[in-house]
Amino acid sequence: MTVQELPGAAAYRPTPPPAWKPLTDPAPLLPDPEPYRVLGTDAAGDADPGLLLRLYAELVRGRRYNAQATALTKQGRLAVYPSSTGQEACETAAALVLEDQDWLFPSYRDTLAAVARGLDPVEALTLLRGDRHSGYDPREHRIAPLCTPLATQLPHAVGLAHAARLRGDDVVALAMVGDGGTSEGDFHEALNFAAVWRAPVVFFVQNNGFAISVPLAKQTAAPSLAHKAVGYGMPGRLVDGNDAVAVHQVLGEAVARARSGGGPTLVEAVTYRMDAHTNADDATRYRTDSEVEAWRAHDPIQLLERELAGRGLLDDGVREEARASAERMAAALRERMNADPVLDPMDLFAHVYAEQTTQLREQAALLRAESEVEQDQRHDQQDRDGTEEGR
């Protein structure tokens, strides 16, 4: 049976109106009117303590990771850092719901999701340090390169998931995008392809309220971003993005649905970016302190702590262990990022094509000659300096 023949992508032809039948019933596609929540509700009691503790450790670690990376920009060790402080529940849950063989498609903001999935933080940050474009082998980690051109990674996720499915492999792709990114044409085309092909993809929108300075009200007039799902014939889910348990559950269900052949899901997590867009941005230009403070009261770590405390799962040992593990990660990261990366200018030409063209060989030779001259001059200078010092 070919993918096109699978149930669901069936024979929707607008046959004469008397026989007109919609392809799918829209009702199940519609998201709930309120973001789904677990923490602070009765359902929280059913949550597995192991999961809660795992999430807690990850969130604390994630928060520390964000702080450390931001600090590295101040020390000139990163060219730029788009922090996900405040969004750790989303970042972490996205990583945890995936199996080893699944693929993650992160945006520039989602280094934390990659790290939570097990990627070495230094490799995750290489792009933002500025020594090379991607610090890791995407195939080794099943993590696509961090994507900067907005929403362009979404069709990639669809294609990859579709390819895996055609080959009979059990692979789900989870693709992350921001609220602003949903306005791009690529968002539309990716979701449409996914639904038509019933590709095993989860589209995960972190609605953090802003695209740089532009608030959501200037981005969409939709009831919610999750409502966009209806127009593609896939279910839309709306979830409180600061409720790690809820995000984990909703994403988990979407992944399971994709894995079992049910097709794609669009998940919108309502969250908030506590820091500026990047270290280079000045958030006071477009939002008020009081808005930020209101969100601080809905902090993902605090929400989880409250639940853990209520269930007697949060003693000083747990807190301390989470804190210490986070500090160890931060210290190691700090130290390793302190070293200057050793770079070979010849890398510029190494991976443009499988085989270097004549033209690139000529250009590489030019640069090599220049570098040699430069090096000679440096050596001469050192010799001179040495002589001078020797005097």
Binding site: D137, A144, P155, H156, L160, A163, A190, Y353
Partner: protein, 343 residues
């Protein structure tokens, strides 16, 4: 340097007339048969076999999953092809017409061309993007663009274009086999050009990146490709009457560029005209003329001239003959190559 293939008569398998369209279709078929990772996708490529019928029969032979009618969205097609290639497939994307590839330019420039580089070689993208290009088919606006300049200006892409039936087969096979992305530009108005060709003993698949001398001559070199090759060949024949013995180089690959073959020819003849349909200003001819001049300056008796489409949006069908570089315009350029300087 590569010269034209041996005459058809010397081949073992029987040849018969085939069109370029048929040769392209056959190349797709053979690639798919040999390599199960080759997938064709695009608008109308399945049931219909493509608006130019290049993919005719593929869906039937290989199934809808190997030759897929996609939703109508070029960025989506190329974007999903990127994902498929990331997973190890070898997608061949059909753009229906040149101008309809433009919605996919972001995916092409920012991802297809750069992915190998971005990932330090870890993730090459063996994608072939087939773009039917050029005019002369009486198409209304947006159906006759020559967009190769955009692709040439994008490092990371190969840009290949056949001008003969045989090359249509060989170069498309080679492009699909390439581990790098190839923009494969098909000259629309040569789709129905015919040649004696044996699909059963097709020419050895040559590596892409080699130009070929289609006609030997000593007076000047016409440097051309794709739809303008027949024009140049005709011009070269007509030039004999004027006393010019023109050499004709078919580039076949714009990227990588075969400096060796082109340079050797120009150094021999001392004069050159670049001929293409694409607009002159900012078009491929500028690059070609500039690099030939850099390499052959002291062999040149005259500046390298260009005969190209005008710097205008492609005109309506009833006016296109004025726009397209024809034999007369090529000969006029040859006449301007300062022949008096020779005597």
């Amino acid at each position: 340097m590569t010269t034209a293939a041996a005459p058809a008569g010397e081949r073992t398998a029987k040849t018969r007339p085939a069109t370029m369209a048929q040769a392209l279709g056959r190349a797709l078929r053979d690639s798919m048969a040999e390599d199960p990772t080759v997938h064709v996708l695009g608008e109308d490529v399945g049931t219909l076999g493509g608006v130019f019928r290049i993919t005719d029969g593929l869906a039937k032979e290989f199934g809808d999953d190997r030759c897929t009618d996609t939703p109508l969205a070029e960025a989506g097609i190329l974007g999903t092809a990127v994902g498929m290639a990331m997973y190890g497939l070898r997608p061949v994307v059909e753009m229906q017409f040149d101008a309809f590839a433009y919605p996919a330019l972001e995916q092409l420039i920012s991802h297809v061309a750069k992915m190998r580089n971005r990932t330090g070689g870890a993730m090459p993208l063996p994608i072939t993007v087939r773009v039917p290009y050029g005019g002369g088919i009486g198409g209304v606006e947006h159906h006759s663009d020559s967009s190769e300049a955009y692709y040439m200006a994008t490092p990371g892409l190969h840009v290949v274009t056949p001008a003969t039936v045989e090359d249509a087969y060989g170069l498309l096979r080679a492009s699909i086999a390439s581990d790098d992305p190839v923009v494969f530009m098909e000259p629309k108005r040569l789709y129905w050009s015919k040649a004696d060709w044996s699909p059963d003993a097709p020419a050895a698949v040559e590596p892409i990146g080699r130009a070929v001398v289609r006609r030997r001559g000593r007076s000047a070199t016409l440097i051309t490709y794709g739809p303008s090759l027949p024009v140049c060949m005709e011009a070269a024949e007509a030039a004999v009457e004027e006393g010019w013995d023109l050499e004709v180089v078919d580039l076949r690959s714009l990227v990588p560029f075969d400096d060796e073959t082109v340079g050797a020819s120009v150094r021999r003849t001392g004069r050159a005209v670049v001929v293409h349909e694409s607009s002159g200003f900012g078009g491929p001819g500028g690059e070609i003329a500039a690099r030939v001049t850099e390499r052959c300056f002291h062999h040149l008796e005259a500046p390298v001239l260009r005969v190209a489409g005008f710097d205008i949006p492609y005109p309506p069908p009833m006016q296109e003959r004025h726009h397209l570089p024809g034999v007369d315009r090529v000969l006029d350029a040859v006449a301007r190559l300062q022949w008096e300087a020779e005597s």
